[in-house]
Point group: D2
């Protein structure tokens, strides 16, 4: 999508360890059953199994759980490209829910499309996985901000 993406090198060689440590500190992730799968420079994949405690009224996974998964994947994708000592904050995100949250598990993918120094623009997707097949069920664009604020360090 963004030709320059392949040229992006992480500014912090320990980006993966930092992302995994930060993820482990998010109690919301354990509550919703999310796991951090792949961590690459500018791209992150997370997973969340279908579970009875994260549903809406029709038995599908709640749109809030889906969007949390994708927003987080986008935020951590941004984190992989940030310098040490900084933190990432979600400025805004927008998500289109394209199909109901039905499936064995859900994969959230976040990618940095525009890696700015202060503002990073990301593209996120959620796939529902059923019997090994993936179907795109949600798409997100999110703006992340890189901050250097005491107490806001990832």
């Amino acid at each position: 999508m963004a030709a320059a993406l392949q040229d992006v090198l992480p500014k912090d060689p320990d980006f993966e360890a930092r992302a995994r440590a930060s993820f482990a500190r998010q109690s919301m992730m354990a509550t919703l059953g999310m796991s951090l799968e792949t961590v690459a420079p500018g791209a992150v994949e997370m997973a969340m199994p279908y579970a009875p405690h994260i549903l809406q009224q029709h038995g599908f996974v709640h749109a809030g759980a889906i969007s949390t998964l994708v927003d987080n994947a986008c935020g951590f994708a941004a984190m992989t490209l940030m310098p040490k000592g900084s933190g990432v904050l979600t400025v805004e995100f927008k998500v289109n829910m394209m199909s109901p949250g039905k499936g064995d598990r859900f994969i959230g993918v976040g990618r940095v499309v525009r890696p700015g120094k202060t503002i990073m623009v990301t593209l996120g997707e959620c796939f529902a996985e059923t019997g090994g097949e993936r179907k795109l069920i949600a798409m997100m664009t999110a703006t992340m901000m890189v901050v250097e604020t005491p107490g806001i360090v990832d």
Copy 2:
């Protein structure tokens, strides 16, 4: 905001009972500690106390919990104006996170701005309440769709 809003009358006189029953079927609400407070025609208020299991890495309430609260308030606001036998689906939402999720509890307010037959446009806000004072920390616009699909009845 929308002058015609005051003229909006619910098509289903049991709108509040229906909203409360539908809310009770969402396991995600119990998981995140959310409660359905006010239910009025075209406007809904929900609450969520600060809690240790819904946080991000800096100790604030996770943006995913905030947006779930507001998205849900918007969806239920739309539900209050729908005819019996129909269901509401989130088409999309966009949220601006304006301040960190710090506070005693969080109030999500959803209002229908444009009550169409098929598409309802809603405006949502999240307030952080600390010592009784409210501060606006997030703003959302969300598009809801009214469907008459077997199995998708609220």
Copy 3:
């Protein structure tokens, strides 16, 4: 909407002159027939008459003209609260088109909801005016960024 809004004081007492001069330099405004009406601290109103050169295929005003009007109102609302010597850039905006662009003229209103030092969050509305009556036809949320970059001064 935002209680603290009334407390906001412009950092540059010449905010209105600056906004009007900046508006006059936007050739796009003349092309679309837009005028800058009210300029207040944190809030701006613009107008655009219905005209045959800004239509889409069904004879309504093009969604692009509507969103340009509201985005600009939001950007100038942000500009009124910025210090001298800085500039404003649109980071992103999202617009819900609620009714077709029919009417005598269109009023775009932008308000700053969260006046941050770097990031300003704004809420925008478009009203179609017909025979003096106003109808809300579009709603926007927009993120504006305050920059101090040579060449990007408003």
Copy 4:
């Protein structure tokens, strides 16, 4: 992006002629100097040269012109997959402006990511072309609605 995209077949074999006729009826396109380039099932490309009458105050192409270009590309991409006798309306769009509107000309690309019967979700991009090189400067997600309303036929 969406694996199933390649399987999408247009429901109206005259989709290209219909899109070109509809485009020709949009006076806004001529006003901004836009041309309809490629029309494929589910994907459309438009172009707009840099021109002195579509600028903002710093000499860049106005964000409103950029977003009009991409919104329109998304709308026409949706139109290519609609049945004869229907029309397309923009429900909402969100655009991230990633770099200033600098370049010789601007290319707007719209693709249908989720071709529903009523709701189509699209992904749009804007590239600035300078000396033949393309740079991604804006990204959009847009929701289009297929309507069968008298007077709203493309």
